[in-house]
């Protein structure tokens, strides 16, 4: 406990320093060069009568790691699942408002959900590999999109596993069942499986909450490497994790966005009192 607090304090110091070094201006300039991947405008979502998301307005930029934090039940998972329309698997969900993916409303009637999900991959809370071989797990995505050539598949599998930093651990047992791997390895297999469809955005719904600290660290390092090529949106209720790995942080509370800003700003000088209370551990 004491150790984490010290560590926490150090992180905070680093953040404060880095924010002083970088300065507000450069960040704003930086932002203007970046395209918006997801533009959310006045988005509302209901589970039956429960109003789970209220008037969400968020612009998520290209090649950023955007963290979404907040207490349980604040709507952060619901929001990320709205981005690839996974919420539609729940029959009682109703939505209104707009979420634009690359300037096109994903709730448009003509927008095929399969097309969206090919561009917007997802990694889930609990590692959920298929009960198939490691190879077949990674090749699943390319295969459903019609790639049959064994050579191409081999290359995709290797590239994806390397991308997820797990190639060296599994290259000799690609034909073994993915269930034989540890939880942390399974989660990286799931990330590799997601990379195999060559997405533009990767959504991560508390990807480390079922993992031990070492596996968590590996996934976090991986996120840092992936951000050069992908836009990553990660839901976490571990605030240190958000501080460590993200560029932007959105704080959700009771279905609303309380604050959305650069991560160092959120963790050093938040504007809203509720944000400050939450990140300093006074509730949640």
């Amino acid at each position: 406990m004491v150790k984490t607090m010290i560590k926490n304090e150090n992180t905070m110091k680093n953040i404060v320093q880095s924010s002083q070094n970088v300065g507000e201006e450069s960040i704003i300039i930086n932002d203007q060069n970046k395209n918006t991947v997801f533009g959310t405008k006045n988005f509302n979502l209901w589970y039956g009568d429960h109003h789970a998301l209220r008037d969400i307005n968020l612009d998520i930029k290209e090649n950023d790691v955007t963290a979404i934090i907040g207490p349980s039940g604040c709507g952060k998972s619901t929001y990320i699942k709205a981005l690839n329309r996974m919420v539609e698997l729940v029959p009682i969900v109703k939505t209104n408002g707009v979420i634009n993916y690359r300037d096109r409303n994903i709730f448009e009637a003509q927008y095929e959900v399969e097309e969206l999900r090919t561009k917007v991959g997802m990694v889930f809370q609990k590692p959920n590999p298929f009960p198939k071989s490691i190879y077949d797990n990674i090749a699943y995505g390319p295969r459903i999109h019609g790639i049959k050539n064994k050579k191409v598949l081999d290359e995709i599998v290797e590239k994806s596993l390397r991308g997820a930093a797990i190639w060296d651990e599994v290259k000799d047992r690609l034909n073994q069942n993915a269930y034989g791997l540890s939880g942390g390895q399974q989660q990286r297999i799931c990330i590799a499986r997601c990379l195999a469809i060559e997405p533009d955005v990767i959504l991560m719904d508390e990807p480390t909450s079922a993992l031990d600290p070492i596996s968590t660290l590996k996934v976090e390092e991986l996120v840092q490497e992936l951000k050069d090529n992908y836009s990553i949106i990660i839901v976490t209720h571990n605030m240190q994790q958000a501080a460590r790995i993200s560029d932007k942080t959105a704080f959700f509370l009771n279905g609303e966005v309380v604050e959305f800003d650069n991560t160092d700003k959120i963790f050093s000088t938040p504007t809203d009192q509720r944000t400050e209370d939450y990140i300093s551990g006074r509730f949640g």
Binding site: E114, M122, N128, F130, P131, H145, R193
Partner: protein
């Protein structure tokens, strides 16, 4: 102050343990009763029928004389009938289960349909016999043919297969579907590549158990009017035939005592059939069942 008093606990301990023993004895007696009935049945059947069981019994047609009577027509007839029942009922049943579990929206109508399918599984077989008589034998003019009987039996076991397949499909974790949908797979791709491979052991187990019920059913065949004494084998799906339970029923009701033993021999054959099918079901379940 403590709310739990050790002396009270010790005082009640003995009654609690005795109660536990009492219930255990009752449940054990229940199990024993079922086992005993089974053993008596088996001993009786085998001791009566074993003498009549030989190669001739399998290769002879029915006869007026007990020692020449054989089961060939009934055995082959049953096998032919099952080769109609199996594909028809499994394809229809699995398709229905997939639709209800994966495609149908959850609303009042689909709930009503689900409830009625479960109820159909409990409808007496003779009612299905009457249905088969009206639709297949008369309206579609199939007569007392293999097809008519096969379709009737398929209807009879369809609800059982649908319910078993629904259970198996529902047992596939939702996270598996989410993983597939999350990569842009269509519903059909998800069903064929993720849901069905995981559900097939359960579906097959349920189907085989349902099929073994169809082999033993007599009432629908009686209502359709399947003949009992046939001296030829069916040569097409439209020809008349007879089946194992019909043949056994006919032998059992004859006045000569010897025919009772012939019936027992027939029952042994039928039971061997059932044991083989159930063993296959158990084998499939143990071998292919996946754990998440």
């Amino acid at each position: 102050m403590r709310y739990i008093d050790d002396t009270v606990i010790m005082k009640r301990m003995k009654t609690r343990l005795n109660k536990n023993r009492g219930w255990k004895a009752l449940f054990f007696t229940g199990t024993l009763f079922a086992l005993l009935c089974l053993v008596i049945l088996l001993v009786r059947i085998v001791s009566q029928g074993f003498g009549y069981l030989d190669w001739d019994f399998l290769t002879n047609f029915a006869s007026r004389f007990p020692e020449r009577a054989g089961i060939k027509a009934a055995l082959i007839g049953s096998i032919y009938m099952m080769s109609i029942v199996a594909p028809v009922s499994i394809i229809l049943g699995v398709a229905t289960a997939i639709y209800l579990e994966e495609y149908a929206k959850k609303n009042k109508l689909s709930d009503f349909i689900r409830m009625n399918i479960s109820n159909l599984a409990g409808v007496p077989s003779i009612v299905f016999g009457l249905l088969g008589l009206t639709i297949f034998v008369r309206s579609l003019a199939l007569g007392k043919s293999l097809l008519a009987a096969g379709f009737t039996m398929s209807l009879l076991i369809l609800p059982v297969i649908i319910v078993a397949a629904q259970e198996a499909i529902r047992a596939v974790p939702q996270e598996q579907r989410e993983a597939s949908y999350g990569m842009g797979a269509t519903k059909w791709q998800t069903i064929t590549r993720v849901v069905l491979p995981a559900a097939i052991p359960g579906i097959l187990t349920g189907s085989i158990l349902a099929l073994s019920r169809a082999i033993g059913e007599t009432a629908p065949l009686v209502v359709i009017g399947i003949p009992v004494i046939l001296q030829f084998l069916p040569d097409s799906p439209f020809s008349e035939f007879t089946a194992l339970p019909m043949q056994i029923y006919d032998w059992a009701k004859r006045p000569q005592e010897e025919f009772l033993y012939v019936a027992s021999a027939g029952i042994i054959i039928l039971m061997i059939f059932l044991v083989i099918m159930n063993s296959i079901a158990v084998f499939i379940r143990n071998k292919f069942q996946k754990r998440y």
